[in-house]
Amino acid sequence: MNLRTHVKKITNRPGRSAIGTPLVEKTLWLTKMVPAVAVFSGLVWMGVSTQAHTAVSPFSSHAEALQQCPAVEEEIVDLSMLAQGLKDSKAVGLIEKIRLKKAIDGLISRFSAYHVGDRRFSMGELQQQYDVLLMRIASHLQHKDLLLHQQLCNAWELIWQDLENADRFSEKFS
């Protein structure tokens, strides 16, 4: 017998008006409050869990930086264009160019492995590796090759989407 049936049985007893007695009023109040409390608890739990997720995962939100990249006429649209730009840039020395090329190739091979099922690195870790490599490249360019630096700033998220998405990755790198 559930609570509502029990209350109905009490109120339906002949010769007795249960409504108005303190016990029944409390019981009715409880039946109304239980769903409200459940909904409120759910909302609170959802709020807490969202807050915890935001605090734990740095990858959940879109890039907070890079919101004011200067506009450029010629945009870089993929990693091979960035690599070519680095190759042609006078801001980076020969040895550094070779080291950066090797680092880019290494990153691509790690993404390639990920997209065929190798989970040595998680996608979150690969995003950090990508970001830090681009930070390294940006550090080389930001005072010496402003155009390429601006192009890099604009292409940062675009290239990331190519790497992250399996279909786009295979389209670009296979």
Binding site: A65, L94, A103, Q129, M135, R136
Partner: protein, 84 residues
Amino acid sequence: MRSGSLFIAAVMATLLVACEQPESQGHEAIIAKDLAEIISLQDLPCEKVLSWSLQHRFNYQVVCESGHEYVVHVSDEGHVNIAD
């Protein structure tokens, strides 16, 4: 003659670079190495990164072996800035 010297220099540089950073490196080491280079590119002392932590995307807290601590982050314009 000059192009020959350049070719030899390029081959030597390639061999030199090929010998470093084996692909077997783990995630922590990959990030640490890049962060050390980012810091040293701004003429700040940090030969080796002892530990690092990600505060949020584009913002890293770094402790160098020398004891120096830095916050490495990317600005809205894509500049890499380092704060002590």
